[in-house]
Amino acid sequence: MSSVTGVSVTDETPDSDGRDPLPGDNASTGRLGDRLFGGAARGAGIVVVALVTLIGVFLLVQAVPSLADNHENFLTSQKWDVSDADNLGFGIARLLWVTVISSVLAMLIAVPLGVCIALFITHYAPRVLAKPAAILVDLLAAVPSIVYGLWGAIVVGQYFEPVQSFFIAALGWIPLFEDTGASAASTIAFVSVVLAIMILPIVTALSREVFAQTPTAHKEAALALGATKWEMIRTAVLPFGRPGVISAAMLGLGRALGETIAVMFIVSSLPDGAPWSWSIFNGGETFASKIANNAGEFDSPSKTGAYISAGLVLFVLTFVVNAIARIVIERRKAFTE
């Protein structure tokens, strides 16, 4: 019976009849504090729902007229020609690909690394080291993204050349690693590395919190059964922390998907009519960087609408990703206790 959270296990898991957890009797004393707090909490909940709905409505209202005038296929076209209000032609295929692949790559780097750092801090590091290490990682989160962008573009980029040449030489026959002649400091692959560093603190901080919450009983039980430290982590800590790690990954993914300035500074955009390439060693633009890059020249409503419709897709994409994460977490929950 773990009592770390003050709630007994019987309260949390459905019993054999499959009944829902006990909801409590929702009793209220009717006192002022009770009503105030209840009202404030309810209000906050309503505000956030209203906010998201309003943003969604704003995006839709602005995007629909331009989408109606668009004579290209919005989802599959690679063109982006919005300068002539009477002849709009824009599609998001390229933006979608670059946004998704750069974020996925960033996750592939940041999540394993973040989980390892969190495990180090909670289970391996000596006490004197754990605290400063945790603070250092949190500090990374406070660095503004423009700084990451400039640092990546000006300082680190030049050292990425050998990495890129290595991958192209070894795996260049796979379309994903094809050589496109783009300079190393301005490719999707490189920005993914920078994005990974940016989301590392989010993944690490949240994972650290959940790993630290692993019930001591679980860990001691594993050790008592003869597990080594790594086996204990694998059988007790990781399963317990899984929903937390997934949440952390989704928060990080949200940041990677929406990152604007760093992407804008690092990745080269492609000229119109450039051939399609799956390569991660190519330039491109994400939804966010494309909108930000052109925001200074929104001179007609139809043009603004075209960019906002790209923003709408990003909004929906983030929504879908988060929904999937929720489902995964809900499914896993039953197995963690």
Partner: protein, 379 residues
């Protein structure tokens, strides 16, 4: 327990108060500029060209082109010594934004890389006139040469022709020692480095003016219509700073950028041979191109039309003219007074001389006299 809770609440309140007060003071500095100065400072306008333009006291805000940002900031700091009681702020957000704000009546004048458009379904000129209640004028003020900046180790002197530029920026010439480049660079050893052209990924007046030049001087090679959006090949980087630093970090890189940016980054600047020999980029050689420009607008609306294919010796042909867009008759007399005072200072010989040092070309005297006539006609 109680105490810590109170402490926490008061800390929050304190932070809130600080944040709010920060907002408050911010608003004051940019918003209502009712500075307590006297109105008698008019007589000291030494730099004012027209003579009758006294200083106003109403704060003037302007917004627009990033290409003229450095020049206008320089002029603003000079203006402070002329009209101490008049604040002018310029927000460099881009020509499109500036025009939008001007039409919405949020700024007193706009800076733009191109004159207000009234054709091809664009209604900027009409909208601006509606917002002003009077025709809006384009007043050329800052002329900036566009430099062709490159990064090539050991090559200090490089000459390019319009046809070569068109081919390079369309990816048709791909190495620096291409025979066509060698042919116009006799006596220069060019390496076999690949050429990496960089372009502005954001929509930019610099791109528009550079492609106007390519179209105007090498129409056979450059087919695309001039536009703010790049139509050639290469890698795109955000803003002037982006292309300049990309060229700086890339051996074999080449781009088009404002002269100041190329100078700041210590990049090589190519000489341009329009057919009358290679011309180095200097304030004087760029000024010649402006002097030869024709006035395209009516009356005091001074739209300039440049002759990009000019074959006159010693003329650097790739220049962009940025305009200040003003109302010919302001609804508010104080605003008109302030705009006139500032623009008169900006168009003065002194102020124009100063901006030459930071990478712009001064307005030639002939154009400058037309400009000050127009400024003095603002009501």
């Amino acid at each position: 327990m109680k105490i810590t809770r109170i402490g926490r609440v008061s800390a929050v309140a304190l932070v809130g108060a600080l944040a709010l007060s920060a907002c408050g003071s911010d608003d004051n500095s940019t918003g209502s500029g009712d500075s307590t100065g006297s109105t008698s400072a008019g007589g000291t306008g030494a730099g004012a060209a027209g003579g009758d333009a006294g200083c106003g006291t109403k704060a003037i805000t302007a917004e627009g082109s990033t290409a003229q940002d450095n020049a206008i900031q320089e002029a603003i700091s000079g203006f402070e010594s002329v009209c101490a009681d008049q604040k002018v702020t310029y927000n460099a957000t881009g020509s499109g934004d500036g025009i939008k704000k001007f039409i919405a009546g949020q700024v007193s004048f706009a800076g733009s890389d191109s004159a207000l458009k009234s054709t091809d379904g664009k209604t900027e000129a009409q909208d601006a006139a509606k917002a002003c209640g009077s025709p809006a004028w384009n007043i050329p003020m800052v002329t900036g040469p566009i430099s062709i900046a490159y990064n090539l180790k050991g090559v200090d002197k490089l000459t390019l022709t319009p046809a070569l530029l068109a081919d390079i920026f369309q990816g048709k010439i791909t190495t620096w020692n291409d025979p066509q480049i060698v042919a116009v660079n006799k006596g220069v050893t060019l390496p076999a480095t690949p050429i990496k052209p960089f372009f502005r990924s954001d929509e930019s007046g610099t791109t528009e003016n550079f492609t106007k030049y390519l179209k105007g001087s090498a129409a056979a090679k450059w087919a695309a219509e001039p536009a703010k959006k790049w139509a050639g090949k290469g890698e795109g980087k955000a803003k002037t700073a982006g292309v300049a630093s990309a060229v700086k970090g890339t051996e074999g890189g080449i781009t088009y950028a404002e002269w100041g940016a190329a100078k700041d980054n210590k990049l090589g600047i190519a000489q341009i041979d329009n057919g009358a020999g290679a011309v180095e980029l200097t304030g004087e050689s760029a000024g010649k191109a402006i002097a030869a420009a024709k006035v395209d607008g009516q009356g005091n609306d001074l739209k300039l039309k440049l002759n990009y294919a000019t074959k006159e010796a010693g003329t650097y042909p790739i220049v962009l003219v940025t305009y200040e867009i003003v109302c010919s008759k302001y609804k508010d007399a104080q605003t008109a007074k302030g705009v006139k005072a500032f623009l008169n200072h900006f168009a003065s010989a002194d102020a124009q001389k100063k901006i030459e040092e930071i990478g712009y070309a001064p307005l030639p005297d002939e154009i400058r006299s037309k400009v000050s006539t127009a400024i003095n006609a603002i009501q």
